[in-house]
Symmetry: C2
Subunit: 150 residues, 2 copies
Amino acid sequence: MSNAPMYRALSDDTRRRIVTLLLGHNYCVSELARVLQVSESAVSQHLKVLKEANLLTGEKRGYYMHYDIDREKLRALAREIGGMADLERQACTGSEGANCGCHTSTEGTDCGCRKSGDYCSGEVKFFCHGTPGTEDKVQLPMSPVPSRKE
Amino acid sequence: MSNAPMYRALSDDTRRRIVTLLLGHNYCVSELARVLQVSESAVSQHLKVLKEANLLTGEKRGYYMHYDIDREKLRALAREIGGMADLERQACTGSEGANCGCHTSTEGTDCGCRKSGDYCSGEVKFFCHGTPGTEDKVQLPMSPVPSRKE
DNA sequence: AATTTGATTAAGTATACACTTAATCAAATT
DNA sequence: AATTTGATTAAGTGTATACTTAATCAAATT
């Protein structure tokens, strides 16, 4: 399970408006179209994106569609982002070797790795990275880092 | 203040990886490029997007740039999304008139507006919207709804 | 001062995306 | 059964985006 489609879904202003509107009231597609000043077709396509992100379910009732935003999915995303903010800075493990001058901008100390005098001085040609092949093992809070590309 | 640029910034997989990586360690651009398997230029451009979303600050130290993710901005976004999830369903105020058949999919009741028999039956030609010009006054938790378009 | 080098910007490209109008679908009405 | 109608899909368009390589910038080294 990845939240990537949800990030995408919420990256568009119009879709965020749709989400907000649907949280407050029921709206049929044409009503949303009128409020948002776009075509019904455009609304339909936005709703599709929201559905694919599992943020929205739809059900036909009589003439109209009734949509329902999954608030729990929104909360899950909020938690993921909050978890991201709480991700701890990782101390160098030692596998970085003598080349790591891993100090944060605030703490002003090194992490046990050798550093030569000042921050990233001439001697320190590499800094703050693991040995090749290890540094991308950093874990995301929930969704794992995918292979590549959007 | 709007968080729109932050939604955009986080909508890309590679950028979310960059954020995660920078939260754990310092990385110079070329190191990020190696880890992410893209050009340094591409990384630089991603960093620019993150900066424009105020998620990232950069400072040159000696040879290298040191980047810093603003965790508080991430938390602010998490709160906004959480607040969105908590947005309460708005009862019709009456201004919707007789045309509103505003019932949620779960509660199964109307909201005081006239409804004729069943949900959205033939008589109810419009449903769940305010009178023209009022229904888009629904408020977002933090960021106000912009004029239009992404 | 000239050179090196990490980072950014410029220019170009292929794809993704947010729309449009027109056509299609399907449930409800007549 | 034919029609109406709200919603979706098809097809097309212009813009945004995520990359590339090449050129430029600026700090640090020589």
